[in-house]
Symmetry: C2
Subunit: 98 residues, 2 copies
């Protein structure tokens, strides 16, 4: 991935009883892979969950947010699964690795 | 936190035997809190580790990268603890939450 590209940092605290969450999370990753402009996704959860997805453009992020099936998941997230969450839209300006 | 501010997305895969890692990771969080321009940090690890730290400016990130004790940790990370890692420096342009 060549900079600049975009990242969505999604941090969340799940409710104790989040029935149906795991299946939906898996489905959303699968669905994201099919979106135009999708570059990748990384995820880990302990006390909090952090999912970072990477995108070619802000437009691609906007399209993903409006994906019909994703809209259903977002609604369930708000009402059923998450105690709280935060979404940060970022421009990746530099990267390096080992 | 009002946008724009900055995020460092640090993703890593640890080696199986990463002796001394947990103590150092804890110390780095403590140390980061004392750095000028530090806004916060969030962390989770499963197959991969994701740590996102938040900063007021690119200059604050640069200063943190050059912190003497942090330089020692970075060197140990490279040689001893990490199988691989990636650092992404980002400008947070928008955020919303539940």
């Amino acid at each position: 991935m060549q900079t600049p590209y975009y990242a969505v940092i999604f941090t969340s605290i799940k409710k104790e009883n989040a029935e149906g969450y795991a299946e939906m999370a898996e489905r959303m990753v699968e669905l994201a892979h099919q979106q135009p402009g999708f570059l990748g996704v990384e995820s880990a959860r302990q006390e909090i969950g952090i999912t970072v997805s990477y995108w070619k453009s802000l437009e691609a992020i906007k399209q993903w947010k409006q994906n019909a099936e994703h809209l259903v998941a977002q609604q369930l997230g708000k009402t059923k699964w998450y105690e709280s969450y935060k979404v940060r839209i970022c421009q990746v300006v530099m990267s390096y690795e080992l």
